[in-house]
Assembly symmetry: C2
Homo-oligomer: 196 residues x 2
């Protein structure tokens, strides 16, 4: 039930159309929440019925009209209500972890190849996120803005800290998968036949 609230957060930062929201979910918020455009459109429709968002039809030249959504007073109340909820510690699911655990019941060489691919992908993401934090927050950890309200400063800090979480998560993957490969290469040295 968090997609509604992830959308409310995103629209609170800035109103957007369904497609613009989809792009945002591929970026910053997407570090910890993902959604396809189909689902976003459906949920936006439901949210409008509930009165959490309002639509404004924006005609565009040379492009189809877009429906720009903005948070209503009721939507803001709902977001505040949800933010106060404790929320359970969620379960983490990973197919890759299941593959690691079961590797001895298949061809280990192929599992190791999969791990190498995932490791490369997480390293790429880590580099990307690191670049983002250097670009958006160049003056070290906690950003301070002159002439910004306390609320704006606190929100900027939140954006920074969630980005830090994305970096930490990628580091978790890189470190773990590296440990996995090292441990298994010690056991069976130079048997992959792929490199070296």
């Amino acid at each position: 039930m968090a997609l509604e609230h992830a959308i409310l957060v995103s629209l609170s930062e800035r109103p957007a159309s369904g497609l613009e929201l989809t792009r945002r979910f591929d970026r910053s918020i997407g570090f910890f929440w993902s959604a396809t455009h189909q689902q976003i459109y459906r949920v936006l429709g439901r949210m409008e019925e509930q009165g959490w968002v309002r639509v404004r039809h924006v005609p565009q030249h040379g492009r189809p009209d877009k429906k720009e959504y903005a948070v209503t007073g009721g939507g803001g109340d709902e977001l505040a209500r949800w933010l106060a909820e404790p929320g359970p510690v969620e379960a983490f699911r990973s197919e890759l972890a299941v593959r690691l655990r079961g590797a001895s019941y298949g061809e280990r060489r192929q599992v190791l190849a999969t791990v190498e691919r995932h490791l490369a992908e997480h390293a790429t993401r880590l580099a990307h996120y690191t670049h983002l934090v250097e670009r958006d927050f160049p003056r070290g950890a906690p950003p301070r803005f002159d002439g910004a309200s306390p609320a704006e400063q606190a929100h900027a800090l939140d954006v920074y800290l969630v980005l830090r979480g994305g970096i930490r998560l990628q580091e978790f993957w890189v470190d773990w998968l590296t440990e996995y490969l090292d441990a298994h290469h010690e056991t069976r040295p130079a048997a992959t036949g792929a490199d070296a």
Copy 2:
């Protein structure tokens, strides 16, 4: 589609009933995959129809009969086939991260309280997993068993490494949430009113 394969891995290690499987999913494999007994029963039924597992009715004294499931040849083939699949890098979802990002649109005090609760829970899990690895693998990192086949040794290494992943994941949470609390307490010192 990984629950079937997680069950195949678990049953390959040792045959079990639905309830026993449920308990296993609350422990070791549950670090990275969870399932309720309802779902396990349903999936076991489907797997039996597909011929991946076979059932043996085990009468018990003083308790209801249990249905012990074991992997068939076809099930082993399916598991090996699935293990060879590359598999996409999965999306990580966290409601807590959405709450962190949106904290400035609600009462930050309550979000901070939630973070503290989650942090405590992850610290507890970390201590538990650390205890497990010390109990089951006391002789340092890569376990070596005399008189065990190479396949058994490789599988023991896999069990160890997945446990290491569980530890690393809890460390990720503890470190990130600690960074979050520190950063926000610097901004607003001693305002929670909870401790000190």
